[in-house]
Symmetry: C2
Subunit: 131 residues, 2 copies
DNA sequence: CTAATTGCAAACGCTTTGCAGGTCC
DNA sequence: GGACCTGCAAAGCGTTTGCAATTAG
């Protein structure tokens, strides 16, 4: 009857995961979150973290990106939107924002009649210290 | 100028992998390439494909992206540079080019004193047919 | 000949899944 | 009470690595 797009029951574990995501300013892997929860005293199974994050991603509550190590990293949607400039040599990371990119992405989406468009963008290079 | 930055010995296997990458217009996973080679009659070990692609990526001969399934996908650098707009629902993919993005990426790189900057960018949304 | 390279199979890290028990409404 | 959720441990998947045999220069 009530069309619940995603039937997510608000359990203690899920609240904890949501909170952990809210605390984190940046992208977090499932295991990062699992660690954080454990550190905070909330005992949540690793599998539950994976399942919950997956569900939240499908529900559109969080954004997902692919980390360089083959893991998925998550952040809550409301987070300040920015991108990363990563040094291929030392791994140093700089946060950058790109109004131009956001605008462009939006335009492209409209042009091709796509809705709910999000994007993932990362820059790689060699930083000054490593040259 | 024709110095070899990385001491890669041009073996039969490596030539085959390079060729397979040249044939492919788009991104290919290591296993895709392994399949293609095998199909073409060139017997190359899977581990060798992984090792070679890794070496080529480090040498800057190919670009690497993280696939959604946690795998790495490769393409030769000389490929016409473009990005993808992917439908989250049906998987339909549109190639898009973004002069604005390229310019912006370049500017950001200079601003932060990074050299040899490359970028990976993908757009996700719901296409018109899936709405 | 010497050092780089290959292939195989075992090892790895991240993620998913089966199942028995617990929880929410 | 019934459906959903959780935890554990085992399985799955893509990738990496150790080691002996092979190949290029």
């Amino acid at each position: 009857m009530t069309d619940n797009p995603t039937s997510l029951r608000p359990t203690r574990q899920r609240r904890a995961i949501t909170e952990a995501l809210a605390d984190a300013a940046d992208f977090q892997s499932a295991q990062d979150i699992h660690d954080a929860l454990r550190h905070a005293g909330d005992k949540v199974g690793l599998a539950t973290v994976y399942r919950t994050l997956q569900a939240m991603a499908e529900a559109g509550e969080v954004d997902v990106l692919q980390g360089t190590g083959g893991e998925s990293v998550y952040r809550r949607c409301s987070t300040h939107h920015h991108h990363h400039l990563v040094c291929r040599s030392c791994g140093r990371t700089v946060e950058v924002t790109g109004p131009a990119v956001e605008t462009w992405a939006d335009a492209v989406a409209r042009e091709h009649d796509f809705a709910e468009v999000s994007h993932s963008l990362e820059l790689f290079g060699i930083c000054a210290d490593c040259r």
